[in-house]
Symmetry: C2
Subunit: 93 residues, 2 copies
């Protein structure tokens, strides 16, 4: 394994696992106030595209990174969407 | 430009620009309550690694994506860190 692939794996591990504390924070506290729903909507679709790109171009670090990130992003997105929906229901007259 | 490169650019655009509404939300409201500081610390370092990976492996979509994302992640990280620090100062006896 050469240095470039190793660097790719380090990058993949960092950017993917970084969503773990965010997902855990959202699960633990249930708070999603400061989180942008638009961000996680665009991000989740983008990560799905990266996954297909990785598979198509046979780039292992990209595949590994985005499989993990997609799972975590989906957790954050669904909990944020659930909270926003509940908030909208509550503010209805 | 073939389909794989195009897919890479679409993925790059989505995941990078997704941080724009999050950065804007943080700048506009100043609220970073639900945001994980650990996430943005790991994420920012990871994105910097991706940028080097992209440059080293000459992958244009990865370079473009991570240059934009690094800028936006740095904004979110610095404002979140600033708020956490202010909160820690306030809670001191």
């Amino acid at each position: 394994m050469n240095e470039v692939i190793l660097l790719g794996y380090a990058a993949a591990a960092l950017t993917s696992l970084s969503f773990l504390p965010q997902a855990w924070l959202v699960i633990r506290t249930g708070r999603t106030d400061g989180i942008s729903l638009l961000m996680y909507s665009l991000f989740t679709v983008g990560v799905a595209f990266w996954l297909i790109y990785g598979i198509t171009s046979n780039a292992a670090p990209i595949i590994a990174a985005n499989a993990v990130t997609l799972t975590l992003a989906l957790i954050i997105l669904s909990l944020t969407a659930k909270n926003r929906l509940a908030l909208r229901q509550k503010s209805k007259p």
